[in-house]
């Protein structure tokens, strides 16, 4: 072996030594579990007796004999497709009003971001449950406004709406990313278009949105994935039941119940895989269509 080969081998070895914790962790906590989960998805397994191969049985049951599964898909998609856009629109709106030079902006940013920092906690889910309870503030407010109070825990649509509000309330992290993006748009662009007599609406659609589109794509993908995985608020607010009438039975919660309350490990694994494929398809659609709506400055040869 020549000296050069020896040196590069040594360099390779050192490199792998540094990243070895990742490789070991990836194999032990991601790759092998994924294979196990793929295998289990074709079995019936309750943790106590060995897995029994049932072929496509789980998938068949899911799509043809389990209305609760379809319901959880419907609830989750409503939650994601309504919640994520609302959250991003709100985040962009707040980022735009905070994109000014003022000493107070830092304080405002903190105030708007705080709900997101505490948002994942059980405490906040408990609070949300109480704010929307029959005698809670939301209903007192509705009453004061002359509207009829809503039974948030009696109507499946109302309780889903309540969950969506909670997710929209935590728009802070997207807002910060939008804010960072807005700061990168040069003031000259806006000034130039002002000279050309562009209205604020026009500026928003022909400068802000196109230049922000890569960040919108990033936020859209990250927020969509995390929204699909939402568990804690649904679990806490419905006390683990997904009620009323499965109105808050998000996919993750249904999977949790199948796996850990009914010991249907194989069924839960199959559910997870179908969800993974659905998320992958959705992400792929976002990426592929992004060609048509995401604008990269470098492509214009600036």
């Amino acid at each position: 072996m020549s000296l050069r080969n020896h040196q590069s081998l040594r360099a390779n070895m050192t490199g792998y030594a540094f990243i070895s914790p990742f490789i070991v962790g990836f194999l032990a906590f991601t790759l092998i579990p994924m294979f196990i989960s793929l295998y289990l998805s074709f079995t019936s397994y309750n943790l106590f007796t060995p897995p029994k191969w049932i072929g496509l049985g789980n998938f068949e049951k899911m799509f043809t004999a389990d209305p609760k599964y379809w319901n959880s898909i419907r609830v989750t998609f409503t939650y994601v497709l309504v919640g994520v856009p609302l959250r991003l629109i709100f985040a962009l709106f707040v980022a735009m009003i905070l994109n000014t030079k003022s000493r107070m902006v830092g304080t405002y940013r903190t105030m708007y971001y705080l709900p997101s920092i505490i948002g994942g906690s059980v405490a906040v889910s408990i609070m949300w449950r109480n704010i929307f309870s029959n005698e809670g503030i939301v209903n007192s407010l509705l009453l004061a406004l002359g509207a009829t109070p809503v039974k948030w825990f009696g109507d499946p649509n109302a309780s889903l709406a309540m969950l969506i509000t909670l997710s929209v309330w935590q728009f802070g992290s997207s807002m910060l990313i939008f804010l960072a993006g807005l700061k990168n748009i040069s003031v000259e662009m806006y000034e130039a278009s002002s000279v050309d007599g562009a209205s604020p609406v026009r500026k928003f659609f022909s400068i802000t949105l196109p230049l922000l589109s890569p960040i919108i794509l990033f936020n859209l993908i990250m927020q969509t994935i995390s929204a699909f995985m939402t568990f804690v608020p649904a679990y806490v607010i419905s006390k683990g039941e997904g009620g009323p009438m499965d109105g808050t039975m998000l996919h993750s919660l249904y999977l949790f119940r199948q796996a850990f309350m009914f010991s249907n490990m194989g069924y839960a694994a199959a559910m997870a895989w179908v969800m993974l494929i659905m998320i992958a398809i959705l992400t792929a659609i976002l990426f592929i269509t992004s060609k048509y709506w995401v604008f990269y400055e470098t492509e214009k040869g600036r």
């Binding site: 360099a11 390779n12 050192t14 490199g15 030594a17 540094f18 990243i19 914790p21 990742f22 962790g25 906590f29 991601t30 092998i32 579990p33 994924m34 289990l40 943790l47 707040v94 009003i97 107070m104 405002y108 105030m111 971001y113 705080l114 920092i117 505490i118 994942g120 906690s121 059980v122 405490a123 408990i126 609070m127 449950r129 109480n130 704010i131 005698e135 809670g136 503030i137 007192s140 004061a144 935590q170 997207s174 910060l176 990313i177 993908i221 990250m222 994935i225 699909f228 995985m229 568990f231 804690v232 679990y235 006390k239 996919h251 949790f256 796996a259 850990f260 895989w273 993974l276 998320i279």
Partner: protein
Amino acid sequence: MAWKTFKWPIYHILVAALALLMLYPVFWMLFSSFKESRTIFVTAGSLFPTEWIWQNYVTGWKGTSGYNFGTYILNSFTIVLIATIGAVLSSSLIAFGFARMKFKGRNFWFALMMMTLMLPGDVVLVPQYIIFTKLGWVNTILPLVVPSFFGMPFFIFLMVQFIRTIPIELDEAATIDGCGKFRLYFRIILPLLKSSLATAAIFSFYWKWEDLLGPVLYLNSPEKYTVSMALKMFLDSESASNWGGMFAMSILSLVPVIAVFFAFQKQIVQGMSSSGLKG
């Protein structure tokens, strides 16, 4: 410019009003923790308690299962501390490898790591549970802390980005002085990474402190419960309707979270703006 001077006060009033509206639920929870349990809902519309009941914090502290919140807080802190040390150390080591070492397959592993960032956790939930059960790790904190020692992709990514901003000449100079790779990492890069390490530590703190699913799956004797689980138990034993105590402990559970937020605001906001994975 008369319009502009006129516009600013309106701007501030509107933005501040919206911010207060956003924070209203938090204030409501805070003040409810001082209301008498019976009156929390009767007076849901009014923010301030008519009478300040500090007793809620005493009754809440006792918890619902024979252990008090002191135990739960200690349990949570133990998990957070071990997991955070593991995550920060291992992630910085891996990040150094990705950012500073040239080796075959580096790009492949890096791409793989970025992909795991986007992998929904549900896919590995069931098999991980089975593995940890077979290992006999259930009802110990091992499943909650051990995976952290193998690097967290989000932190690795943050640190790689940061290390790339450190001039490579520094490495070269150190190498000429006879500094080995590990020493280079430990003595030169690690100290420079301080701000990224702090950002990672803060986020690790948040994720572990607020985690509910992990403890629910793996801890089953009450003396090992975390703060999140203890709060969830309050909700389950609603019959006692110790609303005041529940709100008091909810507030208490948020104190470390909010304290860390205000202490490291700048770091958190920067870490967030440059990556954006939480929330």
